[in-house]
Symmetry: C2
DNA sequence: CGAACTATAGAACACTGTTCGAGAAAGAGC
DNA sequence: GCTCTTTCTCGAACAGTGTTCTATAGTTCG
């Protein structure tokens, strides 16, 4: 029984990581500060350092936690009879999670010492590539490239729309149009590609773009494996 | 003639951007602070805000400046008779610059409103893709994917080696080995891929990996274009 | 009960980007 | 020569950050 004063709060690593993820989900990367986190946990700033030795470690732990969920969620996507199909399915699952949590991309693959689940995902992709007729070096290159591509798209999506978006309260579609109009403002003779592409960009879907590039990559892999 | 007191310094946007790039080159992203920048310019902190309205803009300007140099440096790489070869050459030039300046990757493609040269590079890639037999949508997807891949690799390389590297003063090669040993410490049955790959990783060259993935991507593009 | 350990709390520190206002330098008009 | 205006410099001050430190509350265990 507390002796009258406000009772002290008690934390745990799970609590801390969970609250961190919640803050990141709600308001993005900038919302995760030790003070905001402490307030959410109902305690003091210093306490967090009992469980985590720096903000970097906190971010790594949060990232690793959601990567763990991705890993678990892709368990039944593994189909050993179709390695490339599995590569595709797992990559798409990662993409989905990145759509759900745009902050993920910024921290992915930062400190593989702590982010064990990222390594597990790396391994999962690798095991599929092992079923293809490739040299170890080719396998290493293939998985590295897929990861780089996924991370690249992730970074793209991690960028919040400029603040003008929030200020002028435009719909996402309208904002896309405004962006495309920015391209159309360039000189048509000097920038033919920008003009040809503006329409596509205006009605594009991130998932389509992602899938398209992924399929190019996998097609290249297929050719390399001599299928 | 100054009246005895220390004479005032005079700046320019070029000066400011130049000094920023120098700081970034010398000690990385963390070294660029307004105070360090002011000290280097021999003036006060406030003056910088006359030329630039925020640190984000400063970073955008610095990034755009070096992208401009990449753009200029790739002028003579353009070979209209070999679109895919040109895509490859331009991408490799970007990779080279990212090796030289690891901080580049972190800021690439952040604010296309300010980073005009990034758009020009986008256009340069696009014009090559326009020579292939593809739909506008396919072209848009192709260039976006290449850029995502390049940025993904850039981000990989932007990560400074953990501080243990500086502390223990290891050679780069030894550090790579230490990293590979970390992989070998995982259970061999559960992580067959990690083990098969450890040797490759230990003696890998970033440029090889980059080229390999790029070629996969371009091979996929070639197939799509029905060549 | 008392000692040892685990864990919490919040003030204090060093550092960041940014704002602000005072004022110096340089022209423009007369 | 003198003003008035504009352009630009400067550094103190502010709000916010991650991190460190120390006091101390709660718990465990002998």
């Amino acid at each position: 029984m507390p002796t009258g004063r406000r009772p002290r709060v008690t934390h745990s690593l799970e609590n801390v990581v969970e609250a961190s993820i919640a803050l990141l989900d709600e308001d993005g990367e900038g919302a995760l500060t030790f003070r905001a986190l402490a307030a959410r946990l109902g305690g003091g700033v210093g306490s967090i350092y009992w469980y985590v030795s720096s903000k970097d470690e906190l971010l790594d732990r949060a990232t690793d936690e959601v990567m763990g969920r991705v890993l678990a969620g892709t368990d039944d996507l593994v189909d050993d009879s179709d390695p490339i199909g599995t590569l595709r399915a797992v990559s798409l699952a990662m993409f989905d999670e990145m759509v759900r949590r745009p902050w993920l991309g910024s921290f992915l693959m930062r400190n593989t010492g702590v982010q064990t689940n990222s390594i597990r995902l790396f391994e999962r992709l690798g095991q599929q590539v092992m079923r293809l007729d490739l040299s170890p070096q080719q396998r290493f290159h293939a998985v590295s490239s897929i990861v780089s591509y996924v991370v690249g798209v992730a970074v793209d999506m991690a960028q919040p729309p400029p603040k003008e978006f929030f200020e002028s309260g435009l719909e996402p579609a309208e904002f896309l149009k405004a962006y495309a109009d920015g391209w159309r403002a360039y000189d048509a003779d000097e920038f033919p590609f920008l003009h040809q592409i503006a329409d596509e960009f205006e009605r594009h879907d991130d998932a389509d773009v992602f899938r398209s590039g992924l399929d190019m990559l996998l097609q290249g892999l297929r050719v390399q494996a001599g299928a």
